[in-house]
Amino acid sequence: MTLTPQKLVLRSILAGVVLLGVMAACVWIGSQDVSLADVLKGPGVEGSPNIQYIIFMQERLPRICLAAIVGAALACAGVVFQAILRNPLADPYILGVSSGAGLGSIVAVLFSGTVIYGRIAGHFSWIAEATGMSSLMIMAFVGAMLTVWLVWVIGRVTGRTHVTGLLLAGVVVNAFFSALIMFLLSIARARQLQSTMFWLMGHMMLPENPLMVWFSGGVVLLGIVCLLMLGNSLNILSFGSDDAQSLGVPVKRTCFLAFGCAALITSVAVSLSGLIGFVGLVVPHAVRLVVGPDHRLLIPLSAIAGASFLVVADTIARVIIAPAILPVGVITALVGGPFFLILLIRYTKNIQWGPA
């Protein structure tokens, strides 16, 4: 392995500059015309507020940051799940995050009017007040974490063939919860259905409290740093858990830590944006095709690439049918698929498939 720390830092900084460039460009694109001059005028005086400034500072900039956070989390989690499950088809949702979060959010939408839900939610209203998150976001997060925990426990019970058991548990729990989602959707009223469908297709939701964006960003960043520190162990783990064990890697602990961090950042992402497909699957593979399978490089670069990709996709979703918006998941799938195929054809000559 010829990766020196200098090389790693240099490449990460280079990619980071690209991300900042993408964000700086996308921030000037939107359904409303906002120019730098407008923004520089400041918030305006009482009575005649500067609308352009407010749109820029309160809506567009936070949304771009949000897209970057979510994109980084999903892509990074994708890398890690592909590594610990040793399966190139793994994505951040494979172990039940999507259906768990989906179930949580649908429960929040469907039962928000009922007395029982109101009473239970009343006990936890301090969370909503402190964080400025809607009950839908909170329920999505709780649903995701509970489901991942459930899958982990089932996977543990299955014992030695740890990875296979985990994978199967995830797939089956996903299928079962999806069935529950289908059931709830089929008894939902038309208007509730609209709201939920949009969520299931991925939709950036700004928390009411702007501090929450920074807080989520901090959690995701922390998760990515933890995963980065596990990078070398993940490299060795991809030879198989028995080999890794004999090479002195604490397999169980590494798996648990990597799994926990990845699940946490995915849950954060999902609660902010619904189910955005493709980012967590395509971006890790695309980056791996270009820079190779070393996780120490793969993790930071995937995070940055995922962030850039989602910022662009979200910008397209915001403006392509303005004044209306599209669910961003539609764009990630439409853009991500062909883009990935192009990379696949160009780089497949000398590639080792997946981390396995």
């Binding site: 939107g30 809607s134 949009f198 939701m205 303005a322 209306a324």
Partner: protein, 285 residues
């Protein structure tokens, strides 16, 4: 077989007190496949002849007592047949037209109605009127609504247009576009839709567009009649982050009865007045 017959009879006669058999020729057995169609039938005074309605037919209150044949987007054909209808009124969208075709094949008379706009409602009223032999009442109702429309249009023709956003859903924000009858209601009341043309009928919009459209008034139809109060209570909290928007700054957010405002039905004149009241609360010109 006898039990089945009994069920049919019981089902059909749930409301009527012992109708004598010979009447069957004159007495129609009508099924309404949408809440607004139910309202129309009641207003035309044929309530005794309605044998089945869709779920959520909540107005008038008597409608709740009639046999339910499923929701209007997932009607239950067996329940429809059990009611032994002589006339089934449907709306003109996929699920309902498919059902109408199947019913026609079985030999049951259906009438499909396209009620997407106010003019569509006028047409539908006269069609239903002639189908149920109540043309006179139907015409009266049409002219009553038309009079209201003319009265309001004339009154506000020369006044300044008020920018209105008709919010049908908050998360994500979804509003009535320019091809909706909500748009017609806004224009009759001397307003203009704050959202321009889009490919969606009810476009989902971003917060940015919401602020940029700068509505003077926000109107939210409630989910149903019971939810007006809860929705009013949460509206202020939800919209407070958009305090630069005039409608929010001036506290001009109105939650109106969704059963009234989201249905193109016989109470349209009332809905027109209600929207006009929201736009100009003190009757200002």
């Amino acid at each position: 077989m006898p039990t089945l017959l009994l069920a049919v009879i019981l089902c059909g006669c749930a409301k009527e007190p012992e109708p004598s058999q010979p009447q069957a020729d004159t007495q129609m057995r009508i099924i309404s496949m949408a809440p607004n169609l139910t309202e129309i039938l009641f207003v035309l005074g044929v309530d005794d002849e309605i044998v089945g309605v869709t779920k959520y037919s909540t107005y008038p209150p008597q409608a709740k007592e009639i046999t339910s044949i499923g929701t209007f987007w997932q009607p239950d054909i067996e329940a429809v047949l059990m009611c032994k209808p002589t006339l089934v009124l449907t709306l003109g969208f996929e699920q309902q037209t498919t059902l109408a075709h199947r019913l026609e094949k079985i030999g049951c008379e259906t009438q499909s109605l396209d009620i997407e706009s106010i003019s569509g409602l006028y047409e539908a009223l006269s069609v239903i009127g002639s189908k149920v032999n109540k043309s006179e009442q139907a015409q009266k109702l049409v002219s009553a609504i038309q009079n209201k429309q003319k009265e309001l249009t004339d009154r506000y023709a020369s006044s300044d247009k008020i920018k209105v956003l008709w919010v049908v859903q908050r998360q994500p924000l979804r509003v009535a576009g320019t091809k909706t009858f909500a748009n017609e209601l806004i224009e009759i009341a001397g307003g203009i839709n704050a959202i321009s043309d889009t490919i969606n009928v009810y476009p989902p919009i971003g917060n940015e567009e919401f602020i940029g459209s700068m509505p003077d008034v926000i109107i939210e139809p409630s989910m149903d009649s019971e939810q007006i109060q809860t929705q009013k209570a949460t509206a202020r909290e939800f919209y407070q982050r958009f305090s630069v928007v005039p409608a929010v700054a001036n506290d001009r957010i109105y939650v109106i009865d969704g059963d009234l405002a989201s249905r193109l039905g016989p109470r349209l004149a009332e809905a027109m007045q209600k929207v006009a009241d929201c736009l100009r609360p003190e009757g200002e010109e």
